[in-house]
Point group: C3
Chain length 385, copies 3
């Protein structure tokens, strides 16, 4: 990293960032295994990948080096694991989070498991303010069984979103890309009713509903988007790469075009999450549609040095008033720490490139970084400052 980038990092050293998209931590105490740590740095679901390949990724190799430096130990995996497991978990976690200067966490609670902190627990454990992001599909699935028909289901979803907002949620998240194509279609009414009937039937013997397919997922997403307009809540959309439940070929944010051009969604704020390798496309959308925002979470830190390159490429068409900071981290404090550190550095390097070229001044770059780290999220999520 060059001197200009280091100066920018210094300039942000008192900025307590808003992590606008992350997940709950695993409730401590627990003893971390190597396979668990590896799993924290890959989107693979097959255990062969962490067992045999994650050690050979730039993401994991870099994470070990960074953790070792923080822990003051050798960067061998066994050393890092052994050292961290010897520490008091809360003291350790708080130290890692303090070094990331995370001021507020917006938490997608739809990915929590039985051993996850609840948000109040997490706020207490970390001493960092937590706000909820509602995961649309998870919420909607709980409402299938009791719904009479698809309209009643949508009505219940809208009501639940409103209730979530009243309870403090600051945004809605859709994982449509994991259940269907992200190339949005206008669902056929008859097919929608048929699909909902089958979905409801699938819950008749006590099974949890699991929605999937374009018809149900797109209809639900479009309903939720309209309700987000009404409730003045932003909609987070997973796009770009993720775990292999999704088909990356169908996960470009360009497919969301109806949300940007249809007048019924006027005023909707959409936050495109992750985006890689479609970040150039996402940056274009941010550049021409007022309500579109984006982040490079997950890309940083999972994509190694591509994180830096994606950041530079994003600043081609994306105004710095449209880029948000997020970690997309989950379960382990180590992932939050690595994601946050790398994110600031990537941002510093990308903006330093603009400074080095005489495109923005040092002061403008400092302000741009502040927008990305905190101001844009405050605006999008209407957080009190």
């Amino acid at each position: 990293m060059g001197a200009v980038a280091r100066d920018l990092l210094d300039g942000w050293s008192t900025v307590d960032a808003v992590d606008h998209h992350c997940h709950p931590l695993r409730r401590w105490p627990f003893t971390l295994t190597a396979l668990e740590l590896r799993s924290g740095f890959t989107e693979a679901l097959d255990p062969i990948i962490p067992a045999e390949h994650v050690p050979y990724t730039a993401a994991y190799a870099g994470a070990l080096k960074r953790l070792a430096a923080e822990l003051g130990c050798q960067s061998r995996e066994a050393d890092v694991i052994e050292r961290r497991n010897r520490l008091d978990p809360q003291t350790y976690a708080r130290a890692l989070f303090a070094s990331t200067r995370t001021g507020t966490m917006l938490v997608d609670t739809g990915f929590a498991s039985a051993d996850s902190f609840t948000l109040p627990e997490q706020e207490t454990a970390l001493g960092i303010k937590q706000r909820e992001i509602v995961r649309l599909e998870t919420l909607a699935e709980t409402l299938v069984k009791e719904a009479r028909d698809v309209d009643d289901w949508f009505s219940r979803v809208r009501f639940a979103l409103q209730a979530a907002r009243t309870a403090g949620a600051v945004g809605v998240k859709t994982i449509c890309a994991y259940r269907a194509s992200l190339v949005l279609t206008s669902p056929d009414r008859d097919h929608l009713e048929t699909e909902f009937g089958r979905l409801k039937l699938s819950t008749s013997d006590g099974n949890a509903a699991r929605i999937g397919g374009d018809t149900l997922c797109h209809a639900l997403l479009l309903q939720a988007a309209r309700e987000c307009v009404r409730l003045d809540l932003p909609l987070q959309v997973h796009c770009g790469f993720g775990d292999p439940d999704e088909d990356l070929a169908k996960a470009s944010p360009l497919g969301l075009r109806p949300l940007f051009v249809d007048p019924i969604f006027r005023g909707l704020r959409v936050a495109l999450l992750h985006c890689y390798p479609y970040h150039r496309e996402a940056a274009y959308l941010c550049g021409v549609f007022p309500g579109v925002y984006m982040d490079l979470s997950l890309t940083i830190p999972f994509a190694g040095l591509e994180g830096v390159r994606a950041m530079k490429e994003t600043l081609g068409l994306c105004p710095t008033s449209k880029l948000l900071y997020a970690s997309d981290a989950t379960r382990y404090p180590e992932v939050f720490f690595v994601a946050a550190s790398l994110h600031r550095e990537a941002l510093a390097e990308a903006l330093a490139e603009l400074v080095d070229r005489g495109i923005v001044s040092h002061a403008e770059a400092i302000e741009a970084g502040r927008r990305v780290l905190i101001e844009n999220s405050r605006h999008v999520y209407k957080l009190e400052s």
Copy 2:
């Protein structure tokens, strides 16, 4: 910029470039506003983008710095605007154009408005030779009302293209991407007749025709492409990003494949305009199909430092005998100036990379740049030298 790149720029300092794709200037005198200048550096149509976001783009920040250096003032927007508005518009415009060393402008007149220069006016105002590029869809729309049926319409379009050529036009431009998908299809005859019937009907109460949809747009494009072969005129195709009327997901130049492989188009010269973020794909097409050429106009200067990266990436597969220079600028001399300056610099940096690696010599790089700036366009458009 390194020393090698600077040497290349010096080597081209006497090359009067052909800007093979640009638009008419606004007729002066006029007083420029900040919002107008901002609008010159974005493809957004929604006024919220220039009002709130353009100042935070690399493109606009860099443009202000560059203009301020030329004007000898501070780079604050207000200073730049105030300074330029105090100058004699013709002297000012001619100075900016002189610094870009533009020798010939090929002007797409289909985007002109009431306050635009005509080509003769523009030639007089700037003292730079102007040649016309005919915009296909604009031309074709004027011929709908009088056409008996679709065949008669096509016949009139062909005749009008031939007349334009006789009147001095040197190329045809299609904006199909703004009206339809760029994934070319073979229109169904019945559907084509139906669609033309509806189009014609839409003009019955005096409204101007506006063509749209794959059937009409693809049929028209394919007709024009055949006529271009016959008339020995190149066909410019807008591809890649542009204003939000287009769906970027459907604007890759790869969709134009029928133009490159169908024997009925043998000999057709196609110039792919803009291309980003599909410039790697465009470069591939240039590398394998004899008649395909490309440019990075619009990408430079709208995409910030992505312009330099796109240029480097393009030189991976695109022969320097296939790359064309254009600004795609419109209305304000400032946009022409910034586009032209950045374009030469990006070209110099990309070729310098090849020199630094020992892939081409300094002399070869100078010649390559000359091809891009002037020779390739002379060849494609059959301009007298």
Copy 3:
């Protein structure tokens, strides 16, 4: 190239690489022409490209410089050609291959012509071990005429693949992208029978069968993939760019998703060849699916400096345990030499970037390169060491 990259190259100087995908050499002696050498560095099929444009590509300009340095002559094309034609062809070829340190060649024999070496001839001529890769479509086409129906055809294909394995073949290669879309579909049974009937009929007057279209090609590919699982053979898939017989828009490796997620292909090893400009997508697939491997052959050396960039981008998501080395070279020793030299350098530069950033140590980078050059292929193709 920086000092770190040079150190890595030195560290690999005794590693005899496995070239896991290449083609037969032209039987010597012959006198090489300039057009032939140019044709060796382009995917174009139209002779206008080598005649007029290849000299203006980074790939060919760089190849001439590199060959001239090896031959000790000027880098003008005529000098290089004249010098190499004066040398004893076997001594010359062996010298070029020795400098590439190629230890084993896995040869796709489906692209051989009458003047190509057979594998035993090539092994003798070069003194390098040769192993066969069976080209699926070529093999299957020879079995159409004798097959009673489509099931009998598939049965014969399976039997022939097994026989090839018994005869020493170590992998199967599909060129589906040249004959159909690479977006795999589940062929309709009736349509498959109809298409096979037409294919068989086309051979009735002695013509060779030529398969094409999604139905036949996808059904064949899926059959072969299942047989590869049974025979424990890896399946090589051409994806990304290639000659203009293919539609690049339909050649992304993401379309192969059924091979990665359908349980009937569990255990299948797939090697994605070439990949550019979809190498980021390929790297993602390598990162989440255990059986997926990739290479950047063809991209290096045909895409100029994009080869280095593609290598860096690939190391974002692709573990170094999943990347394979190949030249994809054919016919002329010069192409093998340039491809191999550039490939090692690109690998060194990409890994050096990780060393420079403190992400991997020098020792880890040396080991990573060794995996790419030899170990991963030994594992995928079950080569004796």
